[in-house]
């Protein structure tokens, strides 16, 4: 192998320090949807960067070309995460954006990503995905993309090595520490645990917004069949969204510590005592002698 193609699939997710949930209208407040790179995907990119470094050091200088391509599907603003990925060290970015891709569930997303990979990097060696995105948390796109590309796959990968056309992996799966091996091409998903992402230098970030190899692909560019227009083709439909936390009573107490604690016990001593398995009632049966 004198050339290795690594691909990282990245999702932009809402930056939520606050839940962008409007309890009145019972909808997500889209205007609050400032984006960030999904943490697991960022770890996946870091894994790719580290593997590239290791392989470059192992190879005779100049012999091997290892290229990292990052791909995202989303609204036009998702280009930001590609720029950030370039600043971290990826070589090029592909933005899949088209209203016809909006509303895709995981099945359709995996088909669109698969079509794009086959188009731009048909000779890919290894695809990296985050193990689960922080917004919808399905963790389904990685395994489904492996199916679409018809390659072997392993999820939750914590260590990996590429050697002579295959990849060796360590992962923790349901209390089993597994060492696995698969031939390339293959796909791995990376949890936000072991590959801690490097810091993006501000200068580099600026540079990647000015230059940087990012191309945009529309549905037509990957010859997306009308049968796959996302909103209609997706087999799952969301019928209702609600916030369980918004339905709590949210009793507010304030004031001096001693007073609020007294009030807390007055109102909730049964609940506190019940959970602790202790009787916290002040016994008023102590009759003076």
């Amino acid at each position: 192998m004198d050339k290795i193609e690594l691909i990282v699939c990245i999702k932009q997710v809402p930056l939520v320090s606050e839940l962008p949930w409007d309890p009145k209208t019972k909808t997500l407040r889209r205007e609050m949807a400032e984006g960030m790179m999904d943490p697991a995907a960022k770890h996946a990119l870091e894994a790719a960067l580290q593997i590239r470094k290791v392989m470059e050091e192992k190879a005779v200088a100049g012999k091997k070309k290892i290229r990292i391509t990052v791909i995202t599907m989303g609204p036009p603003m998702s280009e930001e995460v590609l720029r950030e990925a370039l600043a971290m060290g990826a070589d090029s970015g592909v933005l899949l954006t088209d209203p016809r891709m909006a509303g895709a569930d995981t099945l359709i997303t995996s088909k669109i990503l698969g079509a794009a990979i086959k188009k731009v990097r048909p000779d890919f060696d290894l695809v990296f995905c985050g193990s689960a995105a922080s917004d919808s948390e399905t963790g389904q796109v990685g395994p489904q993309l492996a199916e679409e590309l018809d390659v072997p796959a392993a999820a939750y990968v914590e260590r990996l090595d590429i050697e002579n056309g295959h990849i060796r992996i360590q992962r923790l799966c349901d209390n089993f520490l597994e060492t696995l091996e698969m031939d390339l091409p293959a796909l791995v998903t990376i949890p936000p645990r072991t590959f801690f992402p490097r810091h993006v230098p501000l200068g580099g970030l600026q540079q990647s917004f000015e230059g940087g190899d990012v191309r945009t692909l529309l549905a037509a560019d990957i010859a997306l069949s009308p049968d796959l227009y996302a909103a209609k083709a997706s087999p799952t439909k969301i019928v209702n969204v609600f916030s369980p936390t918004a339905e709590k009573e949210n009793i507010r107490l304030r004031g001096a510590a001693k007073k609020v604690v007294e009030e807390l016990f007055r109102r909730f001593e049964d609940r506190i005592g019940g959970a602790a398995g202790k009787d916290l009632k002040i016994s008023d049966l102590k009759i003076p002698e």
């Binding site: 839940l19 922080s134 917004d135 679409e148 072997p152 209390n175 060492t179 698969m182 209702n240 959970a275």
Partner: protein, 334 residues
Amino acid sequence: MADKRNEIWVFGDYRNYFQNRVTLQLLARANAIAPAIDGLVCAVVLGHDVGEYVWEYGAHGADRIYVTDHPDLKTYSGDLYTHLMVKLAEEKRPEIILIGATDFGREFGPRVAKRLETGLTADCVGLEINRDGLLVQTAPGFGGNLLAEIVTPKARPQMATVRPGIFQEIPHDDDRKAEVIEIPLPPDIPRDRVRLLRCEYRPGRDQCLEDARVVICGGRGMGSKSKFKKLFELARLLNGEVGATRPVIYSRWADHEALVGQAGRQVKPRLLFSFGISGAIQHTAAVTDAEFIIAVNKNPHATMMKMADVAIAADANQVCTALIKELKRRLKSS
């Protein structure tokens, strides 16, 4: 005569005790929803020497069990299990397939759904049948702060992975017997593309925090290591366990074992105290299953305060001290 009832399949995930428990929980849920769609509860068991599980699933509510028992299946394999499950589903056409949301299930389920060209809802915390006879799957997003109800109107089967610990299993009943249908290993089975070189069982770390009925979580707002220590005394008085946020771990006020959140542990106590915690989603994701939350924070607008049942706007350390004092007084008086 062919049975025309709609089959509800539960994947037999038996590799360890915990995985096996969620399988039993799903059998129970399948039994609960079956009448609404004239359903027949089926388990699918793949592996080697699995007779014990076949018998157990029968006693826990499966009406019918499909079994492929073969030495080639003696270790769990995503590749082979996907192939076998898809082949069987194409032949038997179940209405619903339920899979425990274990690590294995969450890797295996998506691949089965993809090959069957159907929908899959991840990590469901609720399953109901609606008026149209569709499976309504309730799935969390944004760290459990939002729940979405999802249906698969047309594609079949309707598929879901389901979070462990949500449904109550049906007690073991030896008089319940399932019809067992043996499915021989097909001759054209593909080679496993993933080679398992080594597999070591790692006994789970202790589950004290996960299982605790009372959890006391402290964050950066506790102020210092010595103040944070008081939470341990409070925990002792309440038979609870202490959890912490990431800044607390970084400052070494508590061990990494105490980390609660996306990168740490998931808790589901009956009572959660939250002291000086802002409520970043990486933390709250792991506490939304708490039954009752009492939060203390100087800032009444903190997210943690908004998701609490009781939100106390005060100094965390002072409230902790007052709580300890009051508890001691009450425990002495009884």
